[in-house]
């Protein structure tokens, strides 16, 4: 390993002393963190936390003083990044402003209230004890300034968990189930050291469960998706309350449908998954208030059949009818009970040729994707009969994730990243029991993505780009969601958390993300008139 030597004037002595201290104490090889060593970095496990904090400070310093940064970039001094601790320290001293006289003071940076260690380091003093003192003082400051301090143990364990999860998934893909099993045991042991209430520990716990289900119960899925329709509706409702994804989906789709129905007196909405019908009150109200008066609204709700003689679809229809009656909107409801969307035939919807039709699919189309790319796969069948209805608009909201890849490891990696982000966003929710039940809802999705295969795996999410290709290929063209939809979505997300959620517009489609990682995407489509059909008037 290249020893960093005192070629640089200001930073030389400090880093030299630091590296000399580390080399003089001759850390045993086992103390070097194994995981980072695999990536080429040598950091002592005991120093992980300190190095992490220093990296954070370096990042802040770089952001605060771009002038210094460019100077640094043009400077020809070579630092050895594999000795991460020294490298960070030496860079930090480059950023520190050398004050004229003070030797061991700590300057509090007024911008972000962090202590910037000044070039007291350059003074020829025994640095080692002072450096560690600095760090302790800095820790206190950090705690006071509400920076999250993750203990070295926890951070270490969190990183290890992720690595072990990936390794386990690789074993599962290659069929090495015995190693996978022992990894599961190790991970479950490691979970006890990690905070499982939030953060990586919680998500990791769910993924470990899903992996073990896959290994031990085979890929039929067990009881992952076996929840009753009633349970699913409850979980869905709490997911609706706890985070803005479904509200975003509903409000955006409603805005698009409202604009598409402009000028029509007979309108018909086909909802691919009625659930509790939470999307439709807002549309009914908006239609009631539209200039020119409300149209005749027909709603066809598709949902799973109720097991015990209860007609849940009809109950929802009655509730919606009562609301429509209160606001003087002529309303008719029809329920279509089908356990799978591909079982629905267009004649069941009883579409009148004179009415304007809107097809609404909130996270349903991906369930039609099978693993085999056959000619008449369910998605093609359904898309072709939708096209046959000639809808004024088809609103499609789908998870913005690539969870339908054939390779298990790729899928697993994507899912880990996606659901970690989603759980992060759930932290902004403060209401219970909505939050806990929303987590169970997400947990079931994770279980399906990870531990199921074949027809049991229904959560086959695909990103917007793929849906664009698929829908264009099926004879649809994209409609732009207008600025009203964007404005409404921004306002809605601000209500939930101004700091975390973001709406982005992407070629006429809106996507909602958490800290600019997109999680859910909404788009609107219209059937392209076929060349060999009669050109009907609407």
């Amino acid at each position: 390993m290249l020893r960093y030597d005192s070629t640089s004037s200001s930073a030389g002595s400090s880093s030299g002393s630091l590296s000399s201290s580390s080399s003089s104490s001759k850390p045993p090889q086992q103390d070097i963190d194994g995981l980072l060593a695999g990536a080429g970095y040598k950091v002592r496990s005991s120093e992980l936390r300190q190095v992490a904090q220093r990296l954070e400070r370096l990042e802040t310093a770089m952001g605060n003083s771009p002038a210094d940064f460019s100077q640094l970039a043009s400077d020809a001094i070579l630092y050895n990044p594999s000795d991460l601790a020294c490298w960070v320290d030496s860079l930090l001293t480059e950023f520190a402003e050398p004050p004229p006289t003070c030797s061991s003071d700590f300057i509090v940076d007024p911008v972000n209230n962090q202590t910037v260690v000044n070039s007291a380091w350059t003074a020829a003093e025994p640095h080692t004890p002072q450096v560690h003192q600095n760090i302790t003082y800095d820790e206190q400051q950090s705690l006071d300034n509400q920076l999250t301090v993750v203990t070295a143990m926890e951070e270490d364990s969190g990183i290890r968990l992720v690595h072990m999860l990936m390794t386990c998934a690789e074993c599962v893909q290659s069929g090495d189930l015995s190693l996978a099993t022992s990894l599961i045991d190790d991970m479950q042991g490691l979970l006890t050291h990690v905070n499982t209430v939030c953060g990586i520990g919680k998500v990791a716990g769910h993924f470990i469960d899903a992996l073990s289900r896959r290994i031990f119960q085979g890929m039929g899925g067990g009881s992952v998706n076996g929840g009753s329709a009633f349970e699913n509706e409850i979980l869905y409702h709490h997911f609706y309350e706890a985070c803005p994804y479904l509200k975003f989906a509903h409000f955006t789709a409603n805005q698009a449908i409202l604009e598409a129905f402009d000028g029509h007196d007979c309108v018909h909405v086909v909802d691919f998954n009625l659930m509790h019908g939470l999307q439709w009150p807002a549309l009914i109200q908006a239609l009631a208030l539209r200039p020119g008066g409300p149209p005749l609204l027909r709603l066809t709700g598709i949902g799973p059949p109720s097991p015990d003689g209860r007609d849940s679809l009809r109950e929802i229809g009655l509730r919606l009818a009562e609301l429509a009656r209160s606001v003087n909107v002529r309303f008719a409801f029809r329920g279509v009970a089908a356990s799978r969307l591909e079982d629905v035939k267009p004649w069941m919807l009883q579409v009148n040729p004179k009415e304007a039709v809107a097809v609404n699919s909130i996270m349903q189309l991906h369930r039609l994707l099978g693993c085999e790319q056959t000619r008449n796969s369910p998605i093609d069948t359904v898309l072709s009969w939708i096209r046959g209805l000639n809808p004024k608009i088809m609103t499609v909201v789908e998870q913005e994730a690539n969870h339908n890849q054939p390779g298990f490891l790729d899928r697993f990696t994507e899912a880990l990243y996606y659901y970690s982000t989603m759980f992060d966003s759930l932290e902004a929710c403060r209401i219970q029991p909505e939050k806990a039940l929303a987590e169970i809802y997400i947990q079931r999705e994770i279980g399906n993505v990870v531990s199921c295969e074949g027809s049991a795996r229904v959560e086959r999410h695909e990103p917007l780009a793929k849906w664009r290709r698929r829908l264009s290929g099926a004879g649809f063209r994209a409609l732009r969601l207008g600025s009203n939809a964007f404005k409404q979505a921004s306002m809605l997300l601000t209500l939930f958390s101004a700091e975390g959620y973001s709406v982005e517009e992407n070629e006429g489609c809106l996507s909602l993300g958490w800290h600019s990682s997109p999680l859910i995407a909404a788009s609107a489509w219209q059937a392209v008139p076929a060349w060999d059909n009669h050109m009907s008037s609407s």
């Binding site: 009633f230 009631a288 509730r319 409404q488 209500l495 101004a498």
Partner: protein, 159 residues
Amino acid sequence: MVQNHRREDHETGGENKEKRPKFFINDHVNILIEILERLDGRSLCVAASVCRLWCTIASNDSLWENLCFRHVSPPPSSVRSVVLALGGYKRLYTGCVRPVRSRLGRVRRASWARDEVQLSLSLFCVDYYERLGGSNSNGRLVEKSSPSSLMFLCKPVNV
């Protein structure tokens, strides 16, 4: 109009009261209404606790209608019937408009005022629908005694 009708009622009530030598606001209900019309939501709620007359006036939905549309150009008349059907302006204001305005206040843009009311109205409608569910429940649907789709507006946002 509802407000005038109410005013007449209270004037007759006021005339029956003993005439005092000095000015007593409750004798001049029309002035009282003019004053209460200009209050903000919280003050209006406080005013409702003063006495029965004030309580009656403060519960008058048209005062709350003023509050909802205070910073917005007057909406079309069809809005009123819809809002009354969904639960009234007081409920709309306290449940939706006020929390929406205060949350968005931090990042508000000037052009959002009307959209805020529209968004509030949509949320209000979902809330009404959920309240319907409670009354229609036959024991299998989730009983929601308090509207939960607006719960996210009630809790403080931790930003």
